[in-house]
């Protein structure tokens, strides 16, 4: 019962605090929208200037939606810095040189990939041409032998089939693309945003809920209302659950807003089920609540609460699935399982990109539940500081 009144009170307070409301709902939307447009769209136009490049390569580039500017005599560096093109491709004695600015690795990806593809395709085509040529020559050669043989006296003619199946094998699939890329998950329209957005959704849920719960509890401690509440017969668990569910309501709403916004406004593609996304993030938001409430025990001011951001929040981004854990130093990999965002981020990638079912992410969900249980218990114990029973 008392829990219910604590929840009611928190709702009243949050609804009256317009800034907190804005931080909860508008700030994540703002940042996610920004990110959507910051990362380059793979459909964006790429311009490559070519110098003495084989027309075959140019046509392959053009097939790949690259705008080709044929030049004859330019200084690549000056040309690129003037912003005329994204890259300069030169051919000299059968060697190719691609010059790129390289001031932004994300932007250079498509140029590198498309140029390499064009050159490779050209080379393969040339190889095929060479084989063709060789085959033709061999045919001519064997025809010559046959001619010679026919001129021999009949008793000397060997019973040989001198023209083997060569002719039939010269038809190689030249017209087809030299390299076809198959994607296990998603397709070539995926930008970096598609991959990091599921993680960002979880990150924002975690970050904002952590911040708001921590700040609110801190205010309760410093204003003396926590002590006052504990001078009433309320159970410590009633108080912690009141906090958890009071802020939990807003955490759930925030999660819903972020997920629905990402899917319906920013066109995030979800291979799995949206309900699974909700389950992951709602559990995560309760972890963040528990952690925020707990850490507010150790701080005396809002500024000290902010100090936890580089310490607790930022490192979790690295482990959230954006970077491969397997490629990290071994002693670092060991840290990953202790980070709530590692479990949530990877579960999100599994659901959103790989289309995993609920049964396939149960392990991650159970670990999140374990985090919640641990933090709630610690919070209840932590209130002993204010009251011994």
């Amino acid at each position: 019962m008392r829990t219910l009144f604590i929840i009611k009170r928190i709702c009243k307070q949050v609804l009256r605090d317009k800034r907190t409301l804005a931080l909860l709902f508008l700030a994540p939307i703002f940042v996610i929208t920004l990110l959507n447009y910051i990362f380059p769209d793979p459909d964006d136009e790429v311009t490559i200037a070519t110098v003495h490049v084989d027309p075959d390569i140019i046509s392959v580039l053009e097939e790949n939606q690259v705008i080709v500017q044929e030049e004859t005599d330019i200084d690549p560096k000056a040309y690129l810095e003037a912003g005329h093109a994204n890259g300069v491709l030169e051919e000299k004695d059968g060697e190719w040189t691609l010059t790129i600015v390289n001031d932004n690795p994300i932007n250079e990806g498509p140029i590198l990939q498309k140029s390499t593809q064009a050159v490779m395709e050209h080379n393969i085509n040339e190889l095929v041409d060479h084989i063709d040529e060789a085959v033709t020559k061999m045919n001519e050669f064997s025809a010559g032998i046959e001619d010679v043989l026919t001129q021999l006296p009949p008793e000397m003619q060997p019973d040989l089939d001198t023209a083997p199946d060569l002719q039939t094998d010269t038809e190689l699939g030249i017209e087809e693309e030299a390299l076809t890329v198959d994607y296990v998950y998603g397709d070539d329209r995926y930008s970096f945003f598609n991959i990091i957005n599921p993680i960002l959704v979880s990150f924002f849920v975690f970050f904002f809920v952590f911040l708001i719960a921590g700040m609110a509890m801190l205010k309760e401690r410093s204003s003396g209302t926590l002590e006052k509440l504990l001078s009433t017969p309320i159970r410590k668990s009633e108080l912690v659950f009141g906090y958890l569910f009071g802020y939990g309501i807003f955490a759930v709403l925030q999660t819903a807003v972020i997920i629905l916004f990402s899917i319906y406004i920013l066109d995030m593609e979800v291979a799995g089920s949206i309900i699974d996304m909700f389950i992951i993030n709602i559990l995560l938001s309760f972890v963040a609540l528990g952690l925020g409430l707990l850490l507010s025990t150790f701080v005396r001011s809002e500024f000290q609460m902010m100090q936890f951001i580089p310490l607790i929040i930022v490192p979790q981004i690295f482990f959230s699935g954006m970077l491969k854990i397997e490629s990290m130093e071994e002693w670092l990999q060991w840290l990953a399982p202790f980070m709530p965002l590692y479990h949530a981020g990877n579960a999100m990638l599994d659901v959103v990109l790989k289309g995993f079912q609920l049964s396939e992410i149960t392990a991650s969900l159970l670990i999140l539940v374990l985090f919640i249980v641990i933090f709630v218990t610690l919070n209840i114990l932590g209130l002993r500081r204010y009251r011994k029973v």
Partner: protein, 233 residues
């Protein structure tokens, strides 16, 4: 009845309470008087079960402190105002009333608001209250559940003289049904208490009614008692 027997408390190496034994008489106002830092607040927190005492025994109505259910019988007012500034006065009263698990009738809430003269401002957010209004609201919240014991830590700090008189009248009226335990470091307020406990150097240096104490030390006001105590040392 509140009994404190041989209570000691230390924070690390520093002794805060030293062997304190006191009985607090029912239906009286007992004042705990002493300079800042003499351990008044710590003693009160031990009494509330907010702080652990290292040695001794505290009982309230024969129940050993700390005990959560005991808090139903105690109204507590801390030094700070401890109010939700983003709620109205009425909402604050209602919230704390629910914490005692009582459905407080509208009539009772109204009576309390009238008592502390906050009826006109009950729908205002507490952040717009003056210091005195906040103090009165805090006081109102302490006796919302009609507790048997009222433990008030410096209830009249920062209150103008007229209001202070007013509050003391209310405290004396509450005596009928409750036992009051009040800390203060304002000497003239001490004279308004029925019983006094003088705290000095982490222990109770003198106790009795104000008149008895003045007579024992042969002085005309409480300030001089402290000066005498200082001299004895």
């Amino acid at each position: 009845m509140i009994h404190l027997k041989n209570i000691s408390k230390r924070f690390g190496k520093q002794t805060v309470l030293h062997d304190i034994s006191v009985e607090i008489a029912p239906n009286q106002i007992t004042g705990l008087l002493g300079p800042s830092g003499s351990g008044k607040t710590t003693l009160i927190k031990c009494l509330m079960g907010m702080e652990k005492y290292d040695a001794g025994l505290i009982t309230i109505n024969d129940v050993t402190v700390p005990n959560r259910k005991l808090l139903n019988k105690i109204g507590y007012m801390a030094q700070s105002d401890s109010l939700y500034h983003d709620l109205t006065g009425k909402e604050n009263i209602e919230l704390f009333a629910h914490m005692y698990g009582k459905r407080i009738s509208k009539k009772h809430t109204q009576a309390i608001l009238d008592l502390v003269q906050l009826d006109q401002d009950k729908h205002k957010l507490v952040e717009h209250y003056s210091g005195g209004m906040k103090r009165r609201l805090s006081l109102a919240i302490t006796f919302i559940h009609q507790p048997e014991f009222l433990i008030l830590d410096e209830p009249t700090v920062g209150i103008d003289p007229v209001l202070k008189m007013n509050i003391w009248e209310q405290l004396h009226a509450l005596k009928e049904s409750s036992t009051l335990f009040i800390t203060t470091h304002i000497m003239d307020e001490a004279m308004k208490c029925d019983q006094l406990l003088l705290m000095k150097n982490q222990r109770i240096a003198a106790s009795g009614s104000p008149q008895e104490i003045l007579e024992t030390y042969g002085v005309s006001d409480i300030d001089q008692v402290f000066l005498k105590l200082e001299g004895e040392k």
